[in-house]
Subunit: 409 residues, 2 copies
């Protein structure tokens, strides 16, 4: 058995960023309705002024604001109602001082008017006679042409994750499809003499393959694509063959190691046998997840993740997802949950500790995180935990009441 | 023009819960890898003990814990190494006091052993001679049979949203498919004389259909299915015909009203012309979103959402999604973001105010929400805002530093 030099989580991320530089990947065009959560591949600009004409934001009367100055309950402004603005049409008439026009929310202001009086602030005594009880300022209750989005303004920037709001703004600009990054593709290779497929009945001593299912689910939920998922015994030749095709066909390769020492040794040997840099680091000063391996071949990253399901999920979030975001030129730091620690949590200085937590929302809206302790390797920990926190290597723990950033599980 | 009696947001939710009672809907079976985010349709139990045998959680030596009592750097325990435990197999030998066996993480403990000494706490002087420098307690560095998940224990409860952790636990139990609720189906009917499809070139006075695209995207992201999406002019007969088929084919119907008064009147008339309760409420004391309509026909909920895109998205989150969760018997309150208010935010008492906000994460991990102000009806507001907050009808606003719950946009 050999011990390895471990690097910090910071250095592991630097290593990933340096060895796998961001280069605008391939893109594809999708309808905006399927674009939610995808990463925008190029700055997408509005090709016209939104709105294209000055609109009313209320139901009421289009007027010349000057005519309403000084209007009040006791001294209303008296106006002549010239007609009604039809929805979806250019008004067939214009107004002069002393005139008003019935208008609905979204209607186009007629020429000569510069504001809209809300219907609640008016009264009519006949079809034509309007009393206005409140003054309006110029442009009040209107959105003027280009006020919302200007012609040429970027709606979605390259690298942004597309939101429902983006989709609405794209629709308003008549943009029905958008260029998004092609999904980053992953190959998963599970190895281990003791691991059998979930459809098998394990003999005593064997366990079912958990990690490839968890990992596939996590890959899909961050917007990746699972190209292939294979389960292999600890056989160097088979692992090498599978790895060789994986680094050709996928952007990121994940080896989910059998937890035995032999299995880990095979992983290192197989990665080193490929063309390229081979193993870049073997061991990261994190808990759990210390035996994590990072390698390179054919320009692709190869991760050797720990065999314990909880450790494997945590390392996926803090390193694999980091690389995913880096390769896609995107930032998803908003994906974390802010919470306060409900208790003191101890950790070992010198390594970054990831502690699964349960989240509770207090009546005042505060989110409190409480640690979930469980033996290493227990899957039940993540049945209860909704996330995990990171405790820096320079501290001895977290105090009750400290603000903490929670990664989702 | 008529004014309507408005009800509170609380009463609107009560109205939904009472008129559309939860009844276990139809379910379907999906592979666990596609189950993430779906809602579990029945309590799903583990059919065996996990693990099925007592396993080591470290690399080291299986021992009898009694043999190591009192062991230290200066006075190590001396043990005889009887052999190596092969991964994935039942050990071919058992141990007696004074004996140890090489074991890898995940290996099965041989009979006679009750704990594992980590390799870091041992030294070997020959193949057979082992020195143990640290004592271990009974069961230390092991997971005993059934310690993780017991036979019969529920892994996922009915109504729970399926997480990556659930998928891992189901895999460990050999459960490869799971019963989930069929996706709640929605029909979207956009109406308005001024509204044209996003592929059309609007004439002056016309605008493109924004809401049906935003709403379709939001429906899919909460796990619903968009059955149909139609764009109609303000024509009572057409709206009635479309509504009649929508309440037969879908679980929830959304009318995205044209913003004109006439359009809103048609919505009410069309809902009232169907069999059933018709309009249940017309007007909710919320801002924005006051003209929201809730109706019933054929046991299905019909929402008349406001025409303004921001208002429409907010009412979707606070009412349509509320009904979606209620019908599915699920709770997704954890989906909110906890933040503190970065500023004083005023609101009108007597109505519940929804204020779009931008979120910033401070270096200490705290999330701060700042209001995004924009004219009613501007889509650019939701390009900047990541969520919105709810200010209760009984308060006059929120103070800087107050804890607030942020709904996602």
């Amino acid at each position: 058995m050999k011990f390895f030099n471990v690097i910090s989580i910071c250095d592991a991320r630097k290593l990933l960023a340096e060895n796998f530089p961001y280069s605008r990947g391939a893109s594809e065009t999708v309808p905006i309705e399927s674009a939610y959560g995808r990463i925008c591949a190029e700055d997408t600009a509005c090709g016209e002024d939104i709105p294209a004409f000055t609109r009313s934001t209320v139901d009421g009367y289009a007027v010349t604001s000057m005519d309403t100055h000084g209007a009040s309950e006791s001294v209303p402004a008296m106006l002549y109602v010239k007609g009604t603005i039809a929805m979806g049409e250019t008004p067939g008439f214009s107004l002069i001082s002393g005139e008003a026009a019935r208008i609905s929310t979204g209607g186009m202001l007629p020429q000569g008017s510069d504001s809209v009086v809300m219907v609640e602030n008016t009264e009519t005594f006949s079809e034509q006679d309007l009393m206005v009880y409140h003054p309006v300022r110029q442009n009040e209750n209107t959105i003027i042409k280009g006020d919302d989005i200007k012609n040429g303004e970027i709606i979605v920037h390259e690298g942004e994750e597309i939101s429902h709001g983006h989709i609405g703004a794209l629709a308003s600009a008549g943009i029905s499809t958008i260029a998004v990054r092609k999904k980053t593709s992953f190959s998963i290779i599970s190895t281990g003499d003791e691991i059998v497929s979930i459809d098998s009945s394990p003999s005593t001593g064997q366990v079912r393959d958990i990690n490839s299912h968890c990992l596939a689910s996590m890959i899909r939920s961050i917007g990746g694509h699972v190209n292939s998922s294979r389960l292999l015994k600890d056989n160097l030749t088979d692992i090498k063959t599978e790895l060789e095709s994986a680094v050709i066909n996928s952007d990121i390769v994940i080896l989910s190691g059998g937890s035995s020492v032999g299995s880990r040794d095979f992983t290192v040997e197989a990665i080193n046998s490929l063309s390229g840099e081979g193993v870049l680091t073997h061991g990261i000063s994190i808990k759990p997840g210390k035996p994590t391996i990072i390698g390179e071949s054919n320009g692709k990253a190869i991760f050797g993740l720990p065999g314990h399901p909880v450790a494997s999920m945590i390392v996926f979030r803090v390193l694999v997802e980091y690389l995913f975001n880096h390769l896609n030129g995107t930032d998803r730091s908003h994906d974390h949950i802010s919470a306060v620690s409900g208790t003191n949590i101890h950790s070992d200085p010198g390594k970054t500790t990831f502690q699964p937590v349960i989240l509770k929302t207090l009546p005042n809206g505060e989110t409190v995180a409480e640690p979930v302790y469980g033996k290493s390797g227990m899957i039940s920990t993540i049945l209860r935990a909704q996330g995990f926190i990171e405790i820096g290597s320079e501290t001895e723990g977290i105090n009750r009441g400290d603000h903490i950033k929670v990664y989702r599980l």
